[in-house]
Symmetry: C2
Subunit: 114 residues, 2 copies
């Protein structure tokens, strides 16, 4: 796992600065977790993940979650900016595709060898 | 993995309601992710995870992250309410201990078999 483990590789004393995840690492991981911390966004991701080739049209996503298209587009923008989806426009509609490994990287960063 | 996989076990058509994570599951997972989506909280968790017996005194945590004790206590309360830490008071100080498996459960829920 190349992502940022919460457990430092060399366990140290509690009060040591070295035991904490660095501020920069924590900020990067927190931004991705915050993007995931919304039920509609999780549902949208789960639909894209389950779609053929892990890609879905914004039209289908809007119908699936039962919210307005501007609302759905906002959530998709947050997920895209956080690196979980890529967007491509073909004809009238925008299509969103899962970024391979992006969710796994976050999951890996949360693993702790207890 | 017993947690809520983003990828439905039976992949279906995009526009089917069945393809999306349920609203209840999404709300539960989103609440936990939101609690993790803060850099100070991630640093606090990483310190507790690296401490002896995965337990740390609020006094050491405050010193490690360099913030005021009320601020640190607020973040620890959020993590406790989200199920990542347990709190016990011994003498003057409160001690926080990592809940075994809580982070792993969130990580598992984010795994997608791409």
């Amino acid at each position: 796992m190349t992502a940022l483990p919460l457990l430092p590789s060399a366990a140290c004393c509690v009060s040591s600065e070295g035991a904490a995840m660095s501020v920069a690492d924590a900020e990067g991981l927190a931004a991705r977790l915050k993007a995931l911390g919304d039920p509609t966004r999780l549902r949208l991701l789960s639909i894209v993940a389950g779609a053929a080739e892990q890609e879905a049209c914004v039209c289908d996503l809007t119908e699936s979650v039962g919210l307005s298209q501007p609302t759905v587009s906002h959530h998709l923008k947050v997920l895209t900016e956080a690196g979980f989806l890529t967007r491509s426009k073909r004809g009238t509609w925008a299509y969103y595709r899962l970024v391979p490994g992006a969710l796994d990287a976050v999951a890996g960063a949360l693993r702790i060898d207890a």
